[in-house]
Amino acid sequence: MKLQVLGWSFRKTRLELRERLAFDEPARLHALAEIGARFDCEAAMLSTCNRVEVYVGRSADEPLPDGDVMTEFVAQRKGILVSDLAPGRYEHQQTDAMRHLFRVAAGLDSLVLGETQVTGQVRLAYELGQRAGSIGPLLHALFQHASVGAGRVRTETGIARGRVSIASVAIEYVRQVFAHFSDKTVLVIGAGKMGGLTLRHLGRLGLGRILVTNRSSEKARTVALSCGGESVPWDQLNDALSAADIVLSTTGASEPVVTEARYRAVRARRGSRTAVILDLAVPRDFDPAVHDGESTWLFNVDDLARVRERTLRDRQRHLGHAEAIIAEEQQRFLSDWLRRRNGPLIARLTEDFEAKRRAVLHQLLGRLNGRLTAADQATIEGAFRLLQNQFLHGPISALAEEMPEGGRHTLREALRRLFRLAE
């Protein structure tokens, strides 16, 4: 078996280069088909916003195209200079390549530890390889086991628990306050990117009404149009705050837009109605005193980031257990692979010995015909069977113990290992 992975990831390759390296689905299908045809090997390609990786393999112990050849292949397809790709490139062989795939699939090598999206992307890489016809028995077995390992890591450890994106943490807070959203009004203040992302998340909950306000009425109209909301003049901010149940604030103001005094007037108009304010601006748009823990719940970027950091710290605690599961699944794959590869060979070896044993026995018993009792015949047959088993034990055990790296041995070394002969 030969296995290799070549890749570029967020660890050493900057975003601009990763963006140029990214392969969409049609490009991947073509690339995989070409790798299979040109290099006569199995291939799979993983392409996400954080990494591009090419896996190549062969069931037989024949060399694979080396890292430089594959780098040149990728560079040619993407119109990038090889010299640009070389510094950030990483390469793994054999068991290291296996371990790398298992860790990537389980989210242990991700920008955010334990993220689960990458498992689906690894599955997509496998499916595209199937469609391109570049997945053979080795990569098929490898990706299946990687998927199982990722599933085990997710369910048996806490490494995927909790929220890590600011937007998802914000939504989680909103869901702790409100259960229904179709009757809720959201007010978006400002036009910041984080606000747009959070609004998209909120939109999936089925919001009733969206109001957008901005110092620039033009920007307010643009944002309102993009999210199906209504723009509200900036001077009507208090009215909008009175009407809103959820507020997303992402202005670029250098001082709070809504002070405690201003919000007191708003609160008097709101009565006891509950409001959730997500202040995603830096510096903050809302005076922290607005958060009263009774009817107004204010969460700013610091609060959301704190939860995120705590979640990531909690995930780190599960890393050891996750790595142990990866090691188990890797071992399981190796045992499974060796059994599949060696099984037919062992069966042929056994059949061959069996045939020879029967032939010699038949000849011997024929010559001794009439001079042996049934019990004597049974004893002789048993002795030949025992001899056969003892002859075969050495080679079969040696095959089972062989490392997947294989390697070339001299005939002398092979005989010594097969029959457990001392040096």
Binding site: Y173, R175, Q176, F178, A179
Partner: protein, 277 residues
């Protein structure tokens, strides 16, 4: 062992184990088998309690009777909620209440005064006994509403406290949203109040019309029920009247109402002078 051998310890023990399993889910790794075991013990407790109440039917009007029946209804409420909201810490809030009511029932000094089988009792339902049973049943159902409101209020206050501190729910201590909890409280009080009103009304009529062995309007249970009704009316007015108070204050008042309920249920009816038991 025949089912008729079910004792208080059987069902209380089952509920206690279900509570322990619920707490263990909070502290250790989540395992579906623990949740299933908790449900199994909860169901076993409910079955044992139903058998116990069928074999040793207590008088609804007695402290023990009302508390045991109330705890059974809440145990069923626990099982339903725990299955329906699998990821929430439902049992951690409901089961202690169930166990508390069972314990209170066992502390009743008149716990030996159980009546005979239900069949014999049903034949005696007529006249004042019938209306007395209606009065008791309505108050019991209202008590269920107050208990549900109490549980919702406790959860609300706990959730509000966590959100005020800006903590996210930890695994195993998931709770419903504030809005859902406020709805639950509102609905519970909403249907408990009319039941309580009619129940107290029937009780007042019975008290006025019959030479009851009760000690009149100063009877602790009578007083407790009236004060409970008044608190209810105030809560509903404050929540839905012109000057509405927030859900947090409604939750606090609901807890006060629950305290009054416990006092009412735990009080025995005193007898008029000269009347012996």
């Amino acid at each position: 062992m025949s089912l008729g051998g079910a004792t208080v310890l059987c069902f209380a023990g089952s509920y206690a184990i279900a509570l322990a399993l619920e707490a263990a889910r909070l502290l250790g790794p989540r395992r579906p088998v623990m949740r299933a075991l908790g449900h199994a013990f909860g169901a076993a407790g409910i079955l044992a309690q139903m058998v116990y109440l069928a074999v040793h039917p207590p008088a609804l009007a007695s402290v023990r009777g009302s508390l045991l029946v109330l705890s059974l209804i809440l145990a069923i409420f626990y099982l339903y909620g725990s299955i329906h909201h699998g990821r929430l810490a439902w049992g951690l809030f409901v089961l202690p209440l169930v166990l508390g009511l069972v314990a209170l029932a066992e502390l009743d000094p008149d716990r030996g005064a159980d009546r005979g089988p239900w069949r014999a009792a049903a034949g005696a339902l007529s006249g004042v006994h019938f209306w007395g049973a209606v009065h008791g049943t309505l108050l019991l159902l209202a008590a269920v509403g107050v208990c549900v409101g109490f549980i919702a209020s406790l959860m609300y206050l706990f959730q509000a406290y966590r959100l005020k501190a800006k903590a996210l729910p930890e695994e195993g201590l998931g709770l419903l949203s504030l809005e859902r909890l406020e709805e639950m409280n509102r609905r519970a009080l909403g249907w408990a109040f009319p039941l309580l009103t009619v129940g107290v009304g029937i009780g007042a009529i019975l008290l006025g019309q019959h030479s009851d062995p009760l000690g009149g309007w100063t009877d602790p249970r009578v007083l407790g029920a009236c004060v409970l009704w008044a608190v209810f009316a105030i809560v509903l007015y404050l929540r839905y009247g012109r000057r509405r108070i927030g859900a947090r204050r409604v939750a606090l008042l609901t807890i006060v109402a629950f305290g009054l309920l416990v006092f009412t249920l735990a009080s025995t009816h005193t007898l008029a002078p000269g009347v012996s038991r």
